[in-house]
């Protein structure tokens, strides 16, 4: 396929303005694609990343279910399932607190997907994995610990 993505997504004329509008944007409803939030991805702590995403202070919720191993066999590939049972869930964001750059990404489900995602991530050392859910303009979070062992030279 040969198209310019920016043009396709936003309309060439308004792209610049939209990028500016969303550069500091929160995990918002998916009316348009947000710019890839560089300041959040560059943040060195989950707290800073959440600030950059405007979701600091998300409320703890037991309606977010994180399925991840208690002990990961290999920190290079840790499978994580996140399901949100919060009505009106628009997006799911994932953080690995102890990673050098904790923010893993945001999955936008508002435009026609179920509030669920499976992803596999790198985890450098034992850490909490944290899910933040945006639903009806509010933010919620839950966390689960994943231990990472560095085994021998298996194969």
């Amino acid at each position: 396929m040969d198209y310019t993505r920016r043009g396709l997504l936003r309309g060439a004329g308004t792209a610049g303005a939209l990028v500016a509008a969303f550069a500091t944007g929160a995990l918002r409803p998916a009316d348009v694609f947000a710019a890839w939030n560089k300041s959040a991805f560059d943040a060195k702590s989950t707290a800073d990343a959440m600030k950059a995403l405007n979701v600091a202070g998300a409320a703890d919720s037991t309606d977010i279910v994180i399925r991840a191993p208690d002990i990961a066999e290999n920190g290079a590939v840790v499978p994580i399932d996140i399901t949100s049972n919060i009505p009106g869930t628009e997006s799911i964001s994932l953080f690995v607190d102890k990673n050098p750059f904790p923010y893993v990404g945001t999955f936008d489900v508002a435009k026609g997907a179920m509030p669920y995602v499976h992803v596999r991530v790198k985890i450098g050392e034992s850490s909490n994995v944290r899910a933040v859910v945006a639903a009806a303009g509010k933010y919620y979070q839950a966390a689960k610990e994943v231990k990472v062992t560095i085994g021998g030279c298996g194969g």
């Binding site: 396929m1 993505r5 998916a30 694609f33 947000a34 890839w36 939030n37 991805f41 290079a76 590939v77 840790v78 399932d81 690995v96 990673n99 050098p100 750059f101 923010y103 893993v104 990404g105 945001t106 999955f107 936008d108 489900v109 435009k111 026609g112 997907a113 179920m114 669920y116 995602v117 499976h118 992803v119 596999r120 991530v121 790198k122």
Partner: protein, 104 residues
Amino acid sequence: MGDPMKIRAKLEGDIADVRVLMAHPMETGQRKDAAGKVIPAHFIKEIRAELNGKVVWTADISQAVSRNPVFAFKVKGAKGGDKLRITWEDNTGDKRTDEITLGS
């Protein structure tokens, strides 16, 4: 243009249970090669899934996603014959699109 993705989808009622595999190094930019030189960052940043041309799922991700990424998600309002198209774009501007027909 990367290698082909592998997309699988199972229809359960009007929900398509989608699994997608992508061939990508997801290089962090933190690793060094055997000669001690830093291997430059090379990772998928954005992904979107379209059902019959309408965007239904998107992801903005970092280099913390594992090499050769795997995602699963569930698309609502799907039926046999629908076209599911997935596109990724990486930090070098490289992109790849693959499409399957549901229920086939």
